[in-house]
């Protein structure tokens, strides 16, 4: 019951924060919606990276630190291969590369370390992170590369008749959001409706019991790391198309951490909602809260975007440690 109370308080607080700028008249509606959309777009990307974390955590109890490195590596592969072949072929090949990567991780990391402490596996994925970042640079180079999706980058003005000055949106942002929605829908179907999905959930709960009812553990791990690899690829391509493929892409993984804390480590809807909350929250805080703080405390201002997510995550850890949708028995984190 205490959990429910905390949940309600948090939700009310978040909603209040969301509508405050509009309600207090601090912003005109058109601009407000632009900020909101910008936040949602960033949130979609956080969600995608967080999704990779959740997938692997659910199926193997491993907190995969390498998810960010996988995003970078996949994006690098697409960007460099697209220089010599059509984008669709490069993407397809990159999917193949991520599947091969999943095989290798299963064979060389997960299988030898089966039944070890979660901490051991976390350390192993840390190793994978450094390897993959370095290996990516060795193979693909360390410059900033472009991914050109062939979608015009200049923003379009919509709803000029409704709001004064209209709303500016980017076409590529919209495409990214659609791609993310489709991906998430496919994953939801896969997990909830197929026997492989059920097997994945079984493996997440108890390795030995899952094996004893005929679920091949190793194959499940390859599947789930492959899926996480494909999710990383989509995130990497979207991110790379927007900002260029460079090392900093792998740092987005650090933003996914607060997202999974918010949403719950084991929940796919949680990862999505958590990503959106953080994406919107940090944009709102940056645009509307920063000026107030600057005025009130005579600060230099700015930078809220960088720490907002972590403070929010901390708040959740204090009052709702299992996140919005997480299972209550978190014993592994």
């Amino acid at each position: 019951m205490k959990r429910n109370r905390n949940l309600i308080i948090l939700c009310v607080g978040l909603l209040a924060g969301l509508i405050a700028p509009l309600a207090t008249g601090a912003s005109d509606p058109g601009f407000y919606i632009e900020v909101l959309l910008g936040g949602l777009m960033a949130g979609v990307l956080y969600s995608l990276v967080a999704l990779g974390f959740v997938l692997i955590f659910k199926a193997s109890g491993v907190f995969n630190f390498a998810q960010g490195a996988m995003v970078l590596f996949a994006a690098l592969s697409v960007a460099r291969m697209a220089e010599v072949m059509p984008l669709w072929l490069a993407t397809l090949l990159a999917v193949g590369i991520m599947v091969v990567f999943a095989f290798i991780v299963e064979r060389l990391v997960l299988r030898p370390l089966v039944n070890q402490d979660p901490v051991v596996l976390l350390m192993a994925t840390l190793g994978v992170t450094y390897f993959l970042n370095g290996f990516g640079q060795t193979v693909w180079g360390s410059d900033i590369y472009e991914i050109n999706l062939g979608i015009a980058k200049e923003p379009v003005m919509i709803l000029q008749s409704v709001f004064q000055g209209g709303i500016l949106i980017n076409k590529d942002d919209v495409a990214a959001a659609i791609a993310a929605v489709v991906l998430v829908a496919l994953l939801a179907l896969f997990f909830q409706k197929t026997k492989t999905g059920r097997a994945l959930r079984a493996v997440a709960d108890d390795h030995l019991a899952a094996q004893s009812i005929g679920i091949p553990l190793n194959r499940i791990w390859v599947i789930v790391w492959s899926v996480a690899g494909v999710v990383a690829l989509v995130a990497g391509v979207i991110w790379g198309a927007k900002l260029g493929v460079q090392f900093s892409v792998s740092q987005v993984a650090l933003k996914a951490l607060p997202v999974v804390i918010l949403g719950g480590f084991t929940s796919i809807p949680g990862a999505i909602l958590g990503g959106l909350i953080i994406g919107v929250g940090e944009k709102m805080a940056e645009v509307f809260l920063a000026p107030i703080a600057v005025k009130a405390f005579d600060l230099a201002g700015g930078g809220i975007e960088n720490w907002f997510a972590y403070v929010l995550a901390l708040l959740f850890l204090l009052v709702l440690p299992e996140g919005l949708f997480g299972e209550k028995h978190i014993d592994r984190v």
Binding site: T196, D205, G214, T266
Partner: protein
């Protein structure tokens, strides 16, 4: 013919044969040259003091451990180092001493996982629930419902297993194993930690499974009363060696067995 509770049943040929099984973990010799067989339709108990190698024996049968020496013959096929999931595919199901259920799932979903091996529809068909896949899911659901009725856990279908009391969790563990429709069912201390009533229920279920489904059962149990009541034949292990094998009556009179349990002055 055993002196078991259903002495009238017909016991068939050998389903599972173990020949000269030796298993060591480094210097610890868990099993030393153990041989025995299990016949179709019988209830075969493995007993012995703590650390005698009972669980190791079960783990060898379903492929968790691979013995250094010896052969396992299941269904007439001599097998070498199968994995646990392969053993499951061959028709060996088991329950666990320390319950190993999928705690985050409901009772129903837990039991449904037992049907996983039997589901044939493709990924895509299942995801979008088209004709045959839908029918298949329903068909498996029906089989699972029968098991739920059989084990009298109708009231808990939707309950997450983590919330059930211990005795019921044990029952769900058994239900999941039964959902696989196994040829051979391994039960690792199915009655450990239960009160008298729960034990009686579990005994009844085990006998009914054996009787109605004709499932061959190998079980480990510490409660001698239970073992002597329900099993057809009993193997006694002590320090990894087989020291007795026969009907409950034969085993009860075996001096080596009495010594192992009561201790002797050397």
């Amino acid at each position: 013919m055993g002196a078991g509770a259903n002495g009238g049943k017909s016991i068939g040929g050998v389903v599972l044969g173990l020949e000269g099984i030796s298993l060591a973990f480094g210097g610890v010799r868990a099993l030393q040259n153990v041989s025995f067989d299990v016949r179709e339709h019988e209830i075969r108990a493995i007993i012995g003091p703590n650390g005698a190698g009972k669980s190791s024996m079960l783990n060898v049968i379903n492929g968790v451990y691979h013995p250094q020496e010896g052969t396992v013959t299941f269904n007439g096929v001599k097998r070498r180092d199968v994995n646990t999931h392969e053993a499951a595919a061959q028709g060996i199901a088991r329950t666990f001493q320390n319950i190993a259920l999928f705690k985050g799932m409901s009772v129903l979903d837990n039991i449904m996982t037992g049907r996983n091996l039997r589901m044939k529809s493709g990924l895509l068909a299942q995801a979008i629930r088209i004709g045959p896949a839908e029918r298949e899911e329903l068909q498996h659901r029906e089989a699972v419902e029968q098991i739920i009725d059989f084990l009298e856990i109708q009231a808990y279908r939707r309950t997450p297993v983590g919330r059930l009391p211990y005795g019921l969790q044990k029952r769900v563990d058994l239900a999941r194993a039964l959902a696989m429709e196994p040829k051979l069912l391994l039960l690792d201390e199915p009655m450990a930690g239960m009160n008298v009533e729960e034990k009686q229920d579990m005994c009844r279920f085990i006998l009914d499974v054996n009787d109605q489904f004709g499932t061959t059962i190998v079980l480990i149990e510490h409660d001698m009363g239970v073992v002597m009541d329900i099993s057809d034949r009993v193997i006694v292990l002590d320090y990894g060696k087989k020291i007795g094998d026969g009907t409950p009556d034969e085993v009860r009179g075996n001096q080596a067995v009495i010594d192992a349990y009561l201790g002797v002055s050397h």
